[in-house]
C-alpha cells in the first residue's frame, strides 16, 4: 500500500468532467510524475490533494489517514507540502522570514500565541532556517526582500520553505515552468539532491519531458481527467497510447 | 395589509435612490477596480448643480419698494430676477418653477466633466495602488469636496422644490376603488421611481447593446485580455467614470425636492450605499440594483410602528443586520463574483 492513495476521485465543473474516476497509488520514497496534455486535470488533481478543491466523490488517504474534508493547513500538518506553478511566497517579507514561517509551523503547529518573545531569540528555529537557506544556496540573500528575487530564486525559496518542514510528500506543480535551460538543470540537480539526502515522496506535474525522465521513477499519464496508463519511465516512453494522447502532441 | 403595501411602495422609492447610487459605485468598481469613497460626494455635487442652477435662474437686480420696509425699517429691497425681465414675469416664473427638471440638462455635462477630471487627475494614478489607498484618497477627496460646498453654500439645507404641478400626492387607493387616503404617494416620488428605472434601464441597455458597452463589459471581466486585443480600454473607462458621475449627479438633482440638499448629504448616503454595493456583491451591477431595492423595502417595513413596538430599535439597525446576515450566508453578497475584493 502506498503513502498516498487516490480512489475513484471525480470532479465536475458545471458540464465539464475535470476528473473522472482517478485512481492513484503512490509509493513511499518515490518520485512520481503526472503528465498529460493541457486540460488533462493535473492541476485540479493537485488542488484536490491539498484541500483547495473538494472532489465530488471518491477518497484520498495519506499515510492511512483520510485527507478529504480537512482544511489546507491540516493537510499540510499531516506532512504534505506543495510547490506552486508560480512561486507562492511571502513577497513582502525577507528571504529569512519566508523560511522562518514554515519552521514555526513545523515546531508550533497551526496556531500558537507566541506574542512576546522576539523571533531573533528563537535560536533553534533560526538555526534550522539558516541551514535550510544554505542548503539551497541562498544564505547570502537572507535579508533580501523576497519580492525582489529572480523567478529562479523565488522557486528555490519556495522549495526551501516546503523542505524545511520535512514533509513526507512534496507536490510540485511544474517546478521548471518558464525557466531557462540552465535554471531547469539546476532545479533538476536540486531535486535530485533533495531526494538523495532524505526520505521523501515527490509528486511532480511537468510538461518538460527532460525533467520528467531525469527524475521520475514512475509516471502516470492523465488524459481528459482519467489516468491512461501508469508505468516506469522506460515503458511509458514506448507506450503507443501515450504517444497517441500526449507525446505526439508534445513532439509537434 | 394596506400598511404593508404602502411600505413596499415606499421601499421601492427609497430603494431606487439607493440603487442609483450603488449602480454608479459598482460601475466604477467594476470597470476601474477603484473603490470610490467620493461617490457620495458626486451625488451631493449633483444636488448642488440643481441649487446652482436655481440660483443662476434667480439672479436678480434689486428694486426698492417704497411701500414696504425691511427689518431695520428701511425701504424694502425687492429682488427682481433677470429671467423675468427677459421672458416676462409669467414665463420667467415658470422657468424658475421648473428649475429642478431643467437642472438635469445642466448637471449631465457638468458631472461628466467633473468625473473625467477626477479620473484623469486623481483616480488614474491609483489603479495599481492597494484598495486601502484608494479608499483613503477618495475619502480625503470627499471631505475636501464637501467642505468646498459648505464654504460656498453654508451648512444649512437649501430648499429646492419640485415644479408646482408635481407637488401633492396621488391617491392609489381611490384610483382602484378603495377608501381614499389609505394608499397615497407623492407625485414627485413616483417620478423619482420612474426616473430611476429609466436610468437603470438605460445603463444596462447601453452596456448590453452598444459596442462601446460590450467592450467595457469585456474589460470588466478581463481587462488584460481586452488590452491585448489592442483596444484602448483606458479611454473607455475614463468615459465610464464620467457616466457614473453623471448617474450619481442626476440622482442627486432629482433627489433635491425630496430632501433639501445640504453639504453632508453625500456622507449620509456613502455608508449606506457601500452597504448596498457589498450586499449586492462587489462588481455586480444587477446585484447593486437588487440590493438597493431589497434594503429599501426592508428599511421601510422595519419603520412600521407595529414592527418597532415588537423589536425596539429595529428601525435603527435593520440595514446593518441584513448586511451581516447576507454576508455571512452568502460570502460574496447576493450576486457577487468569486475573488473580487477578497485579498
Amino acid at each position: 500500500m502506498g503513502i498516498l492513495e487516490v480512489k475513484n476521485v471525480n470532479k465536475r465543473f458545471g458540464g465539464l468532467q475535470a476528473l473522472g474516476d482517478v485512481n492513484l497509488d503512490i509509493q513511499e520514497n518515490t518520485v512520481h510524475a503526472i503528465i498529460g496534455p493541457n486540460g488533462a486535470g493535473k492541476s485540479t488533481l493537485l488542488n484536490c490533494l491539498i484541500g483547495k478543491l473538494e472532489p465530488d466523490t471518491g477518497s484520498v488517504t495519506f499515510d492511512g489517514q483520510p485527507v478529504l474534508g480537512r482544511k489546507p493547513h491540516e493537510i499540510n500538518q499531516m506532512g504534505i507540502s506543495r510547490v506552486f506553478q508560480t512561486p507562492e511566497i511571502f513577497n513582502d517579507l525577507t528571504v529569512m522570514e519566508n523560511v522562518l514561517i514554515p519552521c514555526f509551523a513545523k515546531r508550533d503547529g497551526a496556531f500558537r500565541m507566541h506574542a512576546v518573545g522576539s523571533v531573533a531569540s528563537e535560536s533553534d528555529v533560526m538555526e534550522t532556517a539558516e541551514k535550510m537557506l544554505s542548503d539551497v544556496n541562498m544564505l547570502a540573500k537572507k535579508d533580501v526582500h523576497s519580492g525582489a528575487l529572480s523567478r529562479g530564486d523565488k522557486r528555490r525559496l519556495e522549495m526551501a520553505m516546503c523542505l524545511v518542514q520535512e514533509p513526507k510528500l512534496l507536490l510540485l506543480d511544474e517546478p521548471t515552468a518558464g525557466m531557462a535551460r540552465a535554471d531547469t538543470n539546476n532545479t533538476i540537480e536540486l531535486l535530485k539532491e533533495i531526494k538523495a539526502s532524505r526520505d521523501i515522496t515527490m509528486v511532480i506535474i511537468e510538461h518538460d519531458m527532460h525533467v520528467v525522465f531525469s527524475l521520475a521513477q514512475r509516471i502516470t499519464v492523465l488524459a481528459q481527467g482519467t489516468p491512461l496508463v501508469e508505468d516506469t519511465p522506460e515503458k511509458i516512453k514506448g507506450h503507443p497510447k501515450v504517444k497517441e494522447a500526449y507525446l505526439g502532441e508534445a513532439a509537434a | 395589509m394596506d400598511a404593508i403595501i404602502l411600505q413596499i411602495l415606499n421601499g421601492l422609492d427609497k430603494g431606487s435612490a439607493y440603487a442609483l447610487i450603488a449602480l454608479g459605485l459598482t460601475l466604477i468598481f467594476g470597470t476601474l477596480g477603484v473603490v470610490n469613497f467620493a461617490h457620495g460626494a458626486l451625488f451631493m455635487l449633483g444636488a448642488f448643480c440643481a441649487v446652482t442652477l436655481s440660483r443662476l435662474l434667480t439672479l436678480s437686480h434689486t428694486v426698492i419698494d417704497e411701500t414696504k420696509t425691511d427689518f431695520l425699517g428701511n425701504p424694502l429691497k425687492v429682488d427682481m430676477p433677470y429671467v423675468n425681465d427677459i421672458f416676462g414675469p409669467e414665463i420667467g416664473s415658470t422657468i424658475i418653477d421648473w428649475s429642478v427638471p431643467l437642472s438635469i440638462l445642466f448637471a449631465i455635462p457638468v458631472m461628466i466633466l467633473i468625473g473625467v477630471i477626477m479620473e484623469r487627475g486623481l483616480i488614474k494614478h491609483f489603479y495599481k495602488r492597494p484598495h486601502a489607498d484608494q479608499i483613503l484618497v477618495t475619502f480625503g477627496l470627499a471631505i475636501v469636496l464637501q467642505e468646498i460646498v459648505k464654504y460656498y453654500f453654508g451648512a444649512n439645507p437649501i430648499p429646492t422644490p419640485a415644479p408646482d404641478v408635481f407637488r401633492g400626492s396621488f391617491d392609489f387607493g381611490a384610483a382602484v376603488g378603495m377608501d381614499p387616503n389609505v394608499i397615497i404617494y407623492p407625485y414627485w416620488r413616483l417620478i423619482y421611481f420612474a426616473f430611476a428605472t429609466v436610468i437603470i434601464g438605460a445603463v444596462f441597455a447601453f452596456l448590453r447593446f452598444t459596442t462601446f458597452g460590450m467592450v467595457v463589459r469585456a474589460g470588466m471581466a478581463d481587462r488584460e485580455t481586452v488590452g491585448l486585443l489592442g483596444i484602448n480600454i483606458d479611454k473607455r473607462f475614463t468615459i465610464m467614470f464620467g457616466i457614473a458621475a453623471a448617474v450619481a449627479g442626476v440622482a442627486g438633482v432629482m433627489y433635491t425636492p425630496i430632501n433639501s440638499p445640504n453639504y453632508h448629504m453625500g456622507m449620509d448616503f456613502l455608508v449606506l450605499s457601500f452597504v448596498v454595493v457589498v450586499v449586492g456583491g462587489m462588481g455586480s451591477l444587477p446585484g447593486a440594483v437588487l440590493a438597493g431595492f431589497v434594503l429599501g423595502i426592508l428599511e421601510s417595513l422595519a419603520s412600521m410602528s407595529a414592527v418597532i413596538d415588537l423589536i425596539p430599535g429595529i428601525n435603527q439597525v435593520i440595514i446593518y443586520m441584513v448586511a451581516i446576515l447576507i454576508l455571512l450566508t452568502r460570502p460574496r453578497g447576493l450576486m457577487g463574483r468569486k475573488g473580487v475584493m477578497e485579498e
Binding site: K71, P72, H73, S81, E88, I89, F90, N91, D92, L93, T94, I101, P102, F104, A110, R112, M113, H114, A115, V116, G117, S118, V119, A120, S121, E122, H145 | H125, R129, P130, H131, A132, L136, G140, L141, A142, I143, V144, E147, Y151, M267, V271, F274, V275, V278, M282, P312, G313, Q316, V317, Y320, M321, I324, L327, L328, P331, G333, M341, E342, E343
Partner: protein, 401 residues
C-alpha cells in the same frame, strides 16, 4: 535592553523621552506671545495625544500587520468608555478598576465581533465591522439610553452609589477620577521667564500606559506572532498551505487591537469623566484609520505621530478665528492684510476639515508610507544613505495588494 534589539530600544527611549518632556516640547512659545496660539501643552490635549496614540497603536496591530481594514474600531473604544464610567458610577472613582474593566469588556466585545467579521476578508470584512459599529452607535444613541445616557451621555453624579468609595470613606479626591487619591486633574506649573509648563497627573498616568502599550506593540511586532500576522497580510493562501491556521491569528490580532481601543476608551473616561455615543460613530472609526495611514501604517511610531497630528489639528487649528488672523497680519498694509486673511481664512478655524482633507490626500498620494516615510526621506537626504531602521517599515516599501 528589555529584550529589544538596539534600534527598537533606541526608538522606545525616544518615545519615552518625548512623552516625559511633552510639556516642554508642546509649549515652545512664550505664554503671552502671538505664537502661544500654537502651544499644545495643556493637560487635555496632551492626554488626548497619548490616549489616541494608544488607540492608533492598537489599530495598527490589526491593520498594519494583517492588512485587515476595520471600519468599526471606534465601537470598542466606546464600549470601553461605557464600561469604565459604569465602574466609576457603581464602584469607585479610582481609575484602576475602570481601566481594567474597559479593557476586558472591549476585549470580549471584539472577540464576538471579530469572530463573526473575520469569516470574511477584504472589503466584506470592512463592511461587517462597519455594520457592527454603526449598530452599536445607533442603539447607544437611542433605545439603549437607560444604559448609555443616549444623546446626553453619562457623567458621574453625586447620587451615584460608588460602593467601594463609600465603604472606604469616600477617598481623598471628592468624587473626582483619581489614582488612589491622586486627582487626575492635578497639575504642577513651572514658569520660566515668559514660558510656562504644566505637568498633569492624568497625563503622566496615561503616558505611562501609552509607553507600556508602545513597548508591548514592539514586542508583538518582533515576535513570531507578529511575523505570522505579517504573513497573513503578505500571502494568506501560502500561509494556509504552510500548515498555519490564519483565522486564530487574525482573531487574536483583532482582539488585541480591540483591547487597546478599550484601554484608550477607559483612559478617556479616566481623564474626562464623560461618555457620549458619538464616540462610536463611523467617522470616529474613520479617524483612527486616518491616524494610522497619516503616520505610516505598519510602522511602529507612525500611528502615534498620526494621532498627534490629527488631534493637534482638531484642537489647535480649529480655534484660530478671524480676529486672531487679523491680529497676525495687522502689521501689513490694509489691502495686503485683508488679502492674506481672505486667502488663509478658508483653511483654518472652521475650515480645519478642509485642510485636513487636503493634507490627507497629499499624504496618500505622495507619501504612501505616511509621515514616517516623509521623515525617512528627509533623513536620507541628509545622510545620503537610506537606512532601514524599522523592520515594519520594510513591509510598507512594497505595498501588498
Amino acid at each position: 535592553m528589555l529584550g529589544l534589539r538596539k534600534s527598537d530600544a533606541t526608538l522606545l527611549l525616544f518615545v519615552v523621552a518625548i512623552t516625559i518632556l511633552a510639556p516642554f516640547i508642546l509649549n515652545p512659545f512664550p505664554t503671552n506671545s502671538a505664537m502661544a496660539q500654537f502651544n499644545g501643552g495643556y493637560p487635555d490635549l496632551m492626554q488626548r495625544f497619548v490616549i489616541f496614540g494608544i488607540f492608533a497603536i492598537g489599530f495598527n496591530i490589526l491593520f498594519g500587520l494583517t492588512g485587515y481594514l476595520s471600519f468599526g474600531h471606534a465601537a470598542f473604544l466606546g464600549v470601553g468608555s461605557y464600561a469604565a464610567i459604569w465602574m466609576m458610577k457603581l464602584l469607585t472613582m479610582n481609575v484602576i478598576p475602570a481601566i481594567i474593566i474597559s479593557v476586558i469588556v472591549a476585549g470580549l466585545f471584539s472577540l464576538v465581533v471579530g469572530y463573526i467579521s473575520l469569516r470574511r476578508s477584504g472589503i466584506y470584512f470592512s463592511i461587517l465591522t462597519l455594520a457592527f459599529a454603526q449598530m452599536s452607535y445607533s442603539l447607544a444613541y437611542s433605545v439603549l439610553t437607560p444604559i448609555t445616557g443616549g444623546e446626553t451621555g453619562l457623567q458621574p453624579k453625586n447620587t451615584d452609589p460608588r460602593i467601594l468609595d463609600t465603604l472606604f470613606g469616600g477617598g481623598g479626591a471628592g468624587g473626582r477620577a483619581n489614582f488612589f487619591g491622586l486627582d487626575m486633574r492635578d497639575s504642577y506649573f513651572w514658569s520660566v521667564g515668559d514660558w510656562s509648563f504644566v505637568f498633569n497627573t492624568g497625563y503622566y498616568v496615561a503616558a505611562i500606559l501609552m509607553i507600556a502599550a508602545f513597548y508591548l506593540s514592539i514586542r508583538i511586532f518582533r515576535s513570531p506572532f507578529g511575523l505570522m500576522l505579517r504573513a497573513v497580510k503578505s500571502n494568506q493562501q501560502r500561509m494556509n498551505y504552510t500548515g498555519l491556521n490564519s483565522r486564530p491569528y487574525t482573531l487574536a490580532a483583532f482582539v488585541i487591537s480591540g483591547m487597546y481601543a478599550g484601554l484608550a476608551g477607559g483612559l478617556l473616561v479616566a481623564m474626562d469623566t464623560q461618555v457620549g455615543a458619538e464616540r462610536m460613530f463611523w467617522t470616529a472609526s474613520g479617524e483612527v484609520v486616518l491616524m494610522a495611514i497619516l503616520g505610516g501604517a505598519g510602522t511602529l511610531i507612525g500611528p502615534v505621530l498620526g494621532a498627534g497630528f490629527i488631534k493637534y489639528f482638531e484642537n489647535i487649528v480649529s480655534k484660530i478665528n478671524e480676529s486672531i488672523l487679523q491680529g497676525w497680519f495687522a502689521a501689513l498694509p490694509d489691502g495686503l492684510s485683508d488679502f492674506m486673511v481672505a486667502v488663509i481664512y478658508p483653511f483654518i478655524g472652521k475650515g480645519w476639515h478642509l485642510t485636513l482633507g487636503l493634507l490627507f490626500m497629499l499624504v496618500v498620494i505622495f507619501l504612501p508610507g505616511g509621515l514616517v516615510e516623509g521623515g525617512q526621506r528627509i533623513a536620507a537626504l541628509f545622510r545620503r544613505k537610506p537606512k532601514d531602521n524599522d523592520g515594519g517599515m520594510s513591509a510598507q516599501a512594497t505595498p501588498a495588494e
